[in-house]
């Protein structure tokens, strides 16, 4: 009895002790919980489909038949009988052969002839030319007397104006008044060159006999015909072919074929294969077990309304989304000896639910390790290719070193627009406004 009481008291004590060991505000679940990351994924699936189709076909039913008949006919006809024999005979191949021959005969061609040649002869001929040379640039002043001094006995030979002459000189001298009484008072004003002979060069022709010639050749043709006697014994076919009258019996075939038939229509079932690949949203079950993690996450999103990259901002840059994720892990309620929890990996992605049932486009914004820290942040810039409705969700996963994780998600529609032409009556509806509008949030987990 005492034992049973002691046992029940111990059990109650243990229960109370364990209850106080686990702080209730930390969701201190000692077991791991399942983080479901299942998602839809567009996968190419082969869809086998088809159907039988009745097709009307046409075929020819041949009912042709052959009637076999005929008769034997005796006939007489001329037949060509090929016959003959071979007879030997002398075949004379004697013939003339033209022998080409000859030789070269040389002869002297004399080209000797008279030639007129020329030589130059230089000699003197008489002339009567007077050249005057003025010794002074001008006549002196105060001339009171002038006189010509001739020296015909003194002959000179010299070149005047490029021609050789024989000449004598005379001088015309003047006496200026200023020179009277001085030595050499007479001044030679002009010198006269009286040419009496001039040298002439002329060409004289003469005739000369020039002996010359050369050796030439001509062809003496001695070609001639030669009779060559030749021959051989050959065989010759003596044809004795002739017509002979032959009688024979032959079958005259009178068979004939009757061609007939008709077109028959029939129905055939044809398998029309419409199998094809189809993109189908397949639910991919994924996830993992992790233990609870507590803390807070601040998400700052800029701008508030997100547009696809195909739209440009004022700086002509593609529209994008800037996302800043800050975290702070609450380690205040760790049990004794428990390792401090740090965020080691971040996984951020956006599921874009595209319009017109075009499926879900998954855009990975960040998926990687970060420096292990209790408190930290990352900044990402993302550009989206496709627009999505309000069901588009941005997921943020924070992982601790032991696999614990926190999952934050919020709606993040992606806007896109285009322009259209309207009919002339226009439109009464207001301008479209944009989806979204959240820019930040503080999440506790």
């Amino acid at each position: 009895m005492i034992k049973r009481r002691l046992f029940s008291t111990l059990t109650v004590f243990l229960f109370i002790f364990v209850t106080f060991l686990v702080p209730s505000d930390l969701n201190a679940e000692t077991r791991e919980f399942w983080v479901d990351t299942s998602h839809w994924e567009d996968q190419e699936v082969w869809v086998t489909s088809g159907h039988f189709q009745d097709t009307q076909e046409k075929r020819w039913v041949d009912t042709s038949y052959t009637v076999t008949q005929g008769y034997w006919e005796n006939s007489t006809k001329n037949v060509w009988v090929s016959s003959g024999y071979t007879a030997s005979r002398w075949v004379d191949t004697s013939h003339n052969v033209w022998v080409s021959s000859g030789y070269l005969q040389s002869y002297w061609v004399d080209t000797s002839h008279y030639e007129t040649r020329y030589r130059t002869v230089t000699g003197w001929i008489s002339c009567n030319i007077t050249f005057v040379y003025q010794n002074l640039p001008s006549e002196p002043k105060n001339v009171i007397l002038g006189k010509m001094w001739d020296y015909p006995d003194t002959k000179y030979t010299g070149i005047i104006n490029g021609t050789r002459y024989k000449y004598w000189k005379s001088y015309y001298k003047l006496l200026p008044a200023n020179n009277i009484g001085q030595q050499g008072a007479w001044v030679t004003f002009k010198t006269y060159y009286h040419c009496i002979e001039m040298e002439v060069t002329s060409a004289v022709s003469y005739i000369v006999w020039v002996s010359s010639g050369y050796t030439a050749y001509y062809w003496v043709d001695t070609s001639h015909n030669v009779w060559v006697s030749s021959g051989y014994w050959g065989s010759k076919w003596v044809d004795t072919s002739h017509w002979e009258t032959a009688t024979n019996k032959r079958w005259v075939d009178m068979s004939y074929t009757v061609t007939q038939g008709y077109w028959e229509y029939y129905t055939e079932k044809v398998w029309v294969d419409t199998s094809h690949y189809e993109y189908k949203a397949v639910w991919v079950e994924d996830g993992f077990y992790t233990s609870p993690l507590h803390g807070e996450v601040i998400v700052e999103k800029s701008p508030r309304y997100i547009f696809t990259r195909w739209h440009k901002n004022q700086n002509n840059e593609e529209c994008s989304m800037e996302l800043n994720v800050s975290w702070k892990v609450d380690n205040s309620n760790l049990s004794e000896g428990e390792e401090e929890k740090e965020i080691v990996r971040i996984y951020i992605y956006q599921d874009i639910c595209r319009f017109n049932n075009k499926g879900v486009e998954k855009v990975t914004i960040f998926n990687g390790n970060v420096t292990p820290s209790v408190e930290g942040s990352i900044n990402t810039i993302t550009k989206f290719d496709y627009s999505g409705n309000e069901e588009s969700i941005l997921h943020i996963y924070l992982y601790a070193q032991n696999g614990e994780s926190a999952h934050i998600y919020f709606s993040n529609p992606i806007n896109g627009f285009r322009s259209i032409n309207l009919m002339s009556e226009g439109s009464n509806s207001d301008a479209n406004t944009w989806l979204g509008g959240n820019n930040y949030g503080k999440f506790e987990f």
Partner: protein
Amino acid sequence: MVNSNFNPGRNRGSVLLIVAILLPVFILLLGFVVDIGRAFLYKEEINKACMVAAEEASKCIDIEAAQEFGVNRLADNYPDIIYEYFYKNYKGTADCSINNLQYNVIESIDNPKYIEVYCEADVKCFFLKIISINSITIHTKANGRLRRIK
């Protein structure tokens, strides 16, 4: 039954007379068709330019305001876009002169239901000058509106 009054020699030259009377009428009709046809061609071309200009201007929204406040407000430069895309898509010729290119934002810039681009042009005539019609005035209008993808 043979008409005994028919005399071929008496009717000679009547075809020439009819042709002489009707030929100017035919030429005038032909010219009318050619000039009106040209006017329609120009109208079609200008209308295409107006449509493109209206479409492009509709997309010219203040993207900063859209991103921050979620509103659809036209940017200040939308008139430039209208002119730019109109003249990119319509190459002026000597035969057609633009008299007037107007635009109108229906409702307001802060709530643009649609943008209306209106153009008036004069097309010079070739043949109708004969009857003192020197040009044909054409009018065309196009509406453009921004539409959120949904």
